[in-house]
Amino acid sequence: MAANFWSSSHLKLLMDQEEVDVVHSPDKERGLTLEEFKYIKMHMANYIGKLAQFVKVRQRVVATAVTYMRRVYTRKSMTEYDPCLVAPTCLYLASKAEESTVQARLLVFYIKKQLTDEKYRFEIKDILEMEMKILEALDYYLVVYHPYRPLSQLLQDAGMTDMTHLSWGLVNDTYKMDLILIYPPYMIALACIYIASVLKDKDTTAWFEELRADMNVVKNISMEMLDFYDNHKILPEDRVNAIINKLSLKQ
């Protein structure tokens, strides 16, 4: 909806890794570790993606929803804000903000149809109540910038549009981490191009040099992504359940 990242609230809301990695005290009291905190967020990002397939919304809506969810947990605890409800509500809210509204009724229908697990089942009124709470937690800042647009522009500039598919997929994967809260979207796009070029054995050194982007940042992002691919690609379901039970979210 908007074109100027540099004067946006998104830029002002960027945080340091250390700030993002704070486990809130109610969660800490229940024994949630930082690693588990990240696990749950990753799992919920996957869950949002899965729901999005049922209700058929664009990747952009998924990306915005995941960003909302991650922002909420920089400010609120999982004990107070049940991730199993926050995740679908963020998708609901993002669909409105991105002008492709999904009916709450439809969302609830698919949740019930696809997930038999009791802890994921909610009614329309639960989603609507949580919507208001999330809006307040986000301070009504709903405009989010994503790496997708800079990615296409940069690939065009580099004359590497043949890598669009691969790097687009890499960008999708960045939402499994907190990168969107920490780095400007174009930096994330650059890191994805960097990884794609390494995978495809393309020499992009000269192009990166000419860009004069901060390669330390690009490499930091890339390292985190590679670390994710090495360690976390498959998230064991029982592990997730154990953590959620620990939080004993649904009374």
Partner: protein, 303 residues
């Protein structure tokens, strides 16, 4: 909401009531805009969401009225959203009226017109750089601080619906006077030019102390425009005769624009003529307008 004491109703905006209020602890004056949330099965209406998030984004400049915070209240189970804005004492319509009517009718000082136009173009440029069209710029939507000579854009994001509403929910007719010809002719792909047309109409109105094109129907509105600027044709405005609501109109020749704004200096007339170009593609952008010679004599360091 107990934080604020409502002082008076200051307006019935297109989308809801507006109150002047005071923060009980700080004494700060604010404008409260009440938005009813028609919460049915679908929660917060997307229009309200977009409005609030756009305002959050755009009100970071001094040329747009500042959204201080958003308050959510439940009144007898009915959810309401209060948008809390900074308070300015008047708007441009009332401001112009004080020069037209009253005990001492006189023209607006040229330096005030110049300064207001600069601030208006700054604000519009800010919105456009964020990809946001106002779509309903008019003197009532421009708030003015008389003492400080400040002008700010208000009611932003309210006009973001795909079509500008003809009737507000209070059934007050929405004014057509500032509406660009492409909108009047039913174009669906309009862009930043619609705001620049409105800016031009507002510019002329400050110089004339009355509206440039005071039409009372869409047809009348077009005829007002054609009578002054000439009936457009495909040569000066490619594609105009294929627009949805185009008909055959009487053929008028363009009049001398300067005669419609006799008090305006030549540079001002030149800028105005660039804002009132028929072909939206030829209309000057807000950003380019800021560099127009009309503003050369303005002390820009104050902004």
């Amino acid at each position: 909401m107990e934080k604020y004491e409502k002082l008076e109703k200051v307006g019935e905006g297109t989308y809801g009531k507006v109150y002047k209020a005071q923060d009980k602890t700080t004494g700060q004056l604010v404008a409260l805009k009440k938005t009813r949330l028609e919460m049915d099965e679908e929660g917060v209406p997307p229009t309200a969401l977009r409005e609030v998030s756009l305002l959050q984004m755009l009100s970071q400049t001094i040329y747009v009225v500042r959204l201080l915070c958003v308050e959510h209240v439940d009144k007898n189970g009915k959810p309401l959203l209060y948008l809390v804005f900074e308070y300015l004492d008047t708007d441009l319509k009332k401001f112009i009226d004080t020069y037209r009517r009253g005990p001492n009718p006189r023209p607006l000082p040229p330096s005030v017109i110049q300064s207001f136009m600069f601030q208006l173009c700054k604000g519009v440029a800010h919105c456009h750089s964020h990809g946001v069209l106002h779509r309903d710029l008019k003197p009532q939507n421009l708030l003015v601080d008389k003492e400080k000579g400040i002008l700010k854009i208000a009611d932003l994001g309210l006009g973001r619906a795909f079509t500008v509403p003809l009737k507000s929910y209070t059934h007050e007719i929405v004014t057509l006077w500032y509406r660009a010809p492409e909108v009047l002719l039913g174009s669906t792909h309009y862009s930043t030019g619609v705001d620049m047309w409105s800016v031009g109409c507002i510019f002329a109105e400050m110089a004339r102390r009355q509206a440039l094109f005071p039409g009372d129907s869409e047809l009348q509105q077009l005829l007002h425009i054609f009578r002054l600027l000439g009936t457009p044709n495909d040569e000066q405005w490619p594609g105009v005769s294929s627009l949805r609501d185009w008909h055959e109109y009487p053929q008028w020749k363009p009049q001398n624009l300067g005669r419609a704004v006799p008090s305006l200096e030549p540079d001002g007339v030149d800028l105005l003529s660039k804002m009132l170009q028929y072909d939206p593609a030829n209309r000057i952008s807000a950003k380019a307008a800021l560099d127009h010679p009309y503003f050369d004599s303005l002390d820009k360091s104050q902004f």
